[in-house]
Amino acid sequence: MAILELSGITKRFGGLTAVNDVTFNVEEGEIFGLIGPNGAGKTTLLSCLAGDLRPNAGTVRFDGRDTTGLAADRMCRLGLGRTFQIPRPFPHLSVLENVLVAATFGDPDLHGEAIARRATEMLEYVTFPRSPATLASHLNAAQLKRLDLARALASHPKLLLLDELAAGLTPGELADMAALLRRIRDNGVTILMVEHVMRLILELCDRLSVLQYGELIAHGDAATVAADERVREAYLGQNYIL
């Protein structure tokens, strides 16, 4: 069953068409990859389906209902968790409070003691390396990414949108992250990830879509897409050392 169905999504900014007639489904329980060169419209597409932007045309169906144009907070409460390309913490709240915000407002089913419990659990779940009392403004980039992830999970999402979560991680950290994402998926959360790091994509994703100049140019399982001549040509380039 598809948890997310995009059909004919188009988003224009003035004269520029950032996303043009994009259609694909994300199946429940899979890890779905969205790749493409810079400026291809990946983040815009993500914003359209997370409720930050309203598409000019097309519909978004999430979890069986039409959610086109619903605001981001509504989407979150419906079960859509997300992380940002550049992490966005609440700088003057502690790490725990950061996660508490999402547990309190992101999951309508959670009440009372359970909220604090959820927040603590999520920090443990992502193996957050520092004290929960640390102020978010004192964290480094990698820790902020992890905090973003914990916060996204605290709203008990059915679908997780990850925007370049792996950017800037070392190979060692990358392996940890891959394991963590797999564990999240195994716990029943569907993942849609936008990523540049091909190794992670190829390793994790069941299926891939490739976006270029706002249009889908390839679609399918990782091996097929990686082998697609158009993709290699347009996206990977010739002399790139993988």
Partner: protein, 329 residues
Amino acid sequence: MLVRHRRRIALLGVLVVALVLPYIPPFTGEDYRRWLVGAAFMAAQAVAFDFTAGYINIVNFGFAAFVGLGAYTSGILAVDFGISPWIGMVAGGTVSGFVGLLTGALTLRLRGIYAAVMAWFVGLALMGLIRNVPDITRGSLGLAVPSLLESSENLPYYYVIMAMLIVTFAVLAWVIRSRYGLAFRAIGQNLAAARASGINPTRYLVINFVLSCAFAGWIGGFYAHYYGILTPDVMLTSHTVEVLAIAYIGGRGSLWGAAVIAFPLSIGVEFLKVQFSTLPGVHLVLYGLLLIVVMIYKPGGFAAVVRGLESWLIRSRPGDTATEAPPAS
């Protein structure tokens, strides 16, 4: 846990001091008691102001206009309809809250300085409106308003305004400790992340504005029936600056900082004014300088100084390892 318990006791202590203050010389004098009324009036306003400025990070630069709107509502109800000031004050709060709702909705899409200036313009427009409908408000002719109490003593008024300060503080502090407070702070610090965490910013922003403005209007009603005369000048920007100065010197985002510092500050200003009566305006110069020095050297205000002292005391007493307990749970 111990820390928070002690904190409550300390605040209660301050409250008790404030309540018995009119019986301690020289505050037994009517003139000092009037200063106390003025101080408590400023404190209540500053608390309501900080509720917006310190949490959702929007400075309501038209604050005085909301105070004035409440005052005028209550005053007009009393003068033209003979409605009891007690009810009028609540009505004033309601009207200010309603206009706060509209202003909150207006400023929704704006951040930082734009929202502050937008609120300022709303305030200026309100003042202009009051000024230009003299048939209703008497404009600059001044609206004479009946008193709240029979007595012309300051003491009962002091306890009325103290009660209003306590209610304002208690209600707003309670809201801050609830999930609403968490939402306010989240919105104030990162709007996009707050949305992505399931917070509907419209809702909380408007709730915050409505509450703050409603209390401002209610407190404004007290102004009307204490001084007995209203002119559009109550809505002047300079009055907002006075409240803002107290809130900031008290420390943004603490509520209690503003409430506590209002007393020494506004009484101190009156005191200076008497001391320097030969040089009218010196007290304002000193006040301005204090504001400048605080902004440059202690932007966290009084609350930050206290927190610094506190953590210094805690550190210097190793036995008392009070870990920072997570709030709002």
